[in-house]
Amino acid sequence: MSSVPELLTTPNAGRASSAAVIGRDREPVVFELSSPGRRGWSFRATGMPEWDAAELVADAHRNDAPPVLPEVSERDLVAHFTRLTSRNYSVDLGAYPLGSCTMKYNPKLCDVASSVPGLTGVHPAQPAEQTQGWLRLLAELEDVLCRVTGMTAATLQPAAGAQGELTGLLLMRAWHAAQGSVRTKVLIPDSAHGTNPASVTLAGYQTVEVPSDARGLVDLDALRELVDDEIAGLMLTNPNTLGLFETDIVEIARLVHDAGGLLYYDGANLNAILGEVRPGDMGFDIVHMNLHKTFAVPHGGGGPGAGPVAVAARLEEFLPGPRPALDAATNRYVWTTPPRSIGRIHGWHGNALALARAYSYILANGGDGLQRVAEAAVLNARYLKERLRDVFDFPYDEPCMHEFVGSAANVKKATGVKALDLAKRLIEEGFHPPTMYFPLIVDEALMVEPTETESPQTVEAMAQAFERVVAEARADGGAAAHAAPRTTPVSRVDEVLAAKQLRLRWTPE
């Protein structure tokens, strides 16, 4: 028998193997699957004259060779990315109680709704006359988001929560400028998400931190000391990042407004209060929503999301434009730009297909269904917290809303097992871990948000899993937790090495 050609024994090239799934082998980088000259592409026959590259582009502009990309067959491409999906956890696989992220089930209905050709095929620069369906969808979504939040008008442009925050702060800035008032500072509770202060800086303001009191709520006495005529506003998440409702909200709003400031609602936790409380009724002037949390736009491994901003009437004239509006005379939708608009936030009209998902989710649930969403979200969290009362400490023990923050400080003290180790051990129990080490004001924080789409049985199973891993840590001194996870495609990864060697792209070995 003649020898096997070397070309055919290249370790990875074109190898469609499930070893990465069932053998915990490493999955090659797609470039490693390349075989020079192999291709999966094909194009439509167009009948165009076949000018070559040199005839089309002058030497000064033409590259000598195209950029280096993988050269794989479609079959190997599909095998590769399918194997990658098998190395990833997701909501569709199981519970994902990741606090502050609202990892609820994403209805398949919304996948279908956002994929209809009448929506996906529309070019963003087409005249309004050709895109009446889209303008109507966006106008109706603005309207319903205002009804949910108790606000007057909205922009759908911001692509994510953080962009919504920056938009809201720029609106705040524009409003103060229009009053002829120069303000330099924005108040933020010490429990706030890190994007809040980062957005404040980008909006040209300074962050002033408001301490939390013993309840985990805004310290009213401290707030009274801090509000003055330098304050542009207060950014508040309510329920806050501890999962607690700021019960002094009426007084907080009065203090900020009396000082001439505006009240900004970070909608990260809106899921807890749908149909129960509206930011507008609490006195908020500006509200951003995370449609990828509350309104079930899937997180996509970290985007795309959508972060619309709704405002009170006095801020409407500053909103980004263009906005969709129904022209009463013609009964047709048109684009309008508010008279004192801060300008565009997005290259086009926002993450339109994500907006269509949220729109279909709201239609499916309706006003009654959204209220039930909030109630079940709070019920699941309240139940889980009570079940874990003997497992973790609760330094801020007010009634929780849709999420709660426990502390593993006691476990760490007794066993040396940190919140991180417990989280990794929980993976082996079949659950995605909760958020760790946030908010910063809780030692060894574990922030748990079961969401409303998990059944009571799943929530109870989560409670038992937490009980087991903590009891185990107390029994074995943390041996199992420190070694976890052992059931995943890779074991615990070395983050320090990653930052040190900084290998950010594949290169041939």
Binding site: F43, F81, A125, Q126, L202, A364, N365, L497, W506
Partner: protein
Amino acid sequence: MGHYVPHTEAELAAMLGFLGLESLDDLYAHIPDAVRLAGGLDVAPGASESDVLARIDALGAANQPAAGGFVSFAGFGAYEHELPAAVRALTFRSEFVTSYTPYQAELSQGVLQALFEYQTMISSLFGLDVANASLYDGASAAVEGLNLAAAATRRKVAWVSAAVHPNVREVIRTLTAPRLELREAPIVDGVTRWPDDLGDAAAVLVAYPNVLGCLEDVADAARRAHDAGALLVAYADPVAAGLLRSVGSLGADVAVGEGQPFGTPLGFGGPYVGLFATRQAPYVRRWLPGRLVGETLDADERRAYVLTLSTREQHIRRADASSNVCTNQTLIAIAAAIHLAWLGSSGLRELAVRCARGARYAREQLVRIPGVEPLADTPTLYEFGLRTPVPAATVLERLAEEGYLGGVDLAPHYPELGNALLLAVTETRTKAEVDGFAAAFEKAVR
């Protein structure tokens, strides 16, 4: 109502009983009455799947989509390309769609490796060392490029070419207003005329090709920027990268762009994906915005991937962070990576060549029409401007009646160009379609 809340009435009662509560309303008992909403939301009751889809279908039917509804020549930053079935199928895998940002690396190797591959491909397209794991869209990437330049140079002035897409320039104006001073360099015969003295600029922003489709002299812009101590930020078309010299090789310090052409439908403008690449030293460790995936080892010394350099990011640095970006556009970035891998080097070249062939052929047919002239004498690739004897809006209306989306009217954005129409031709257009279009065009400009 409540299609997706699984609790039965009996289960609700059992859980409430465990908590010592009588009703769901009791869950909110600690909230002051003054702010409670009485009577629920003023929003229509929930609808069935079929009713929701009927509503969506009706809205879709009220649109005339560029792709499918027209033979389209519209570009202007959003392009109709063939979307391979494999790319669609893989992008819709729910393990990608329904996962969160990959903070838990051990559970997220799929997304992390896909992003690592994406970073490799994007850095290759632009001829730069490092790409991040994506930003919101081309416009936000441009903003972050200027932010990086301002932070790295400790300067505040940015020179922006007027031939950068007008929406991108508007987003830059909105988002940098509190911090940067913007100066605009005008367009002369299709390309940017830079001033002789750029002053103490932090950044120079040039598009390649620019919004009119023209090929700028990027190397010249880079020299001018570097002479002034500024960084060159190039807003680069990733499809054109199949044929044009990489902006990195032409001297760009930062490349940004819109990744929509790879794996993403027109979708009325979003979600798209912002491309961002730069040189590793000295920029990455301190100033690179957005998520970044790095290679590492697991406890058993196997290759693994993890989000890295998070110390740059807002959740650690808070008010001192150089960017507030938290979410990026992972799913769209993965779609782009899958599409780029499907194309490969030869396919990307072929794609760019086919677009350029179609555009050259279309342009040759159209400029033969009396009264129709090229907008500029500068070379173009697959997008080009025409001057028309009647307003472009009129031309477009007449073409629409014949089933053509004839391009984009430039008058609202560049009134100084007169009756100006911008057209793009991609690999999707056939010679027969272009011939039919040229015939309709000749009638439409009369």
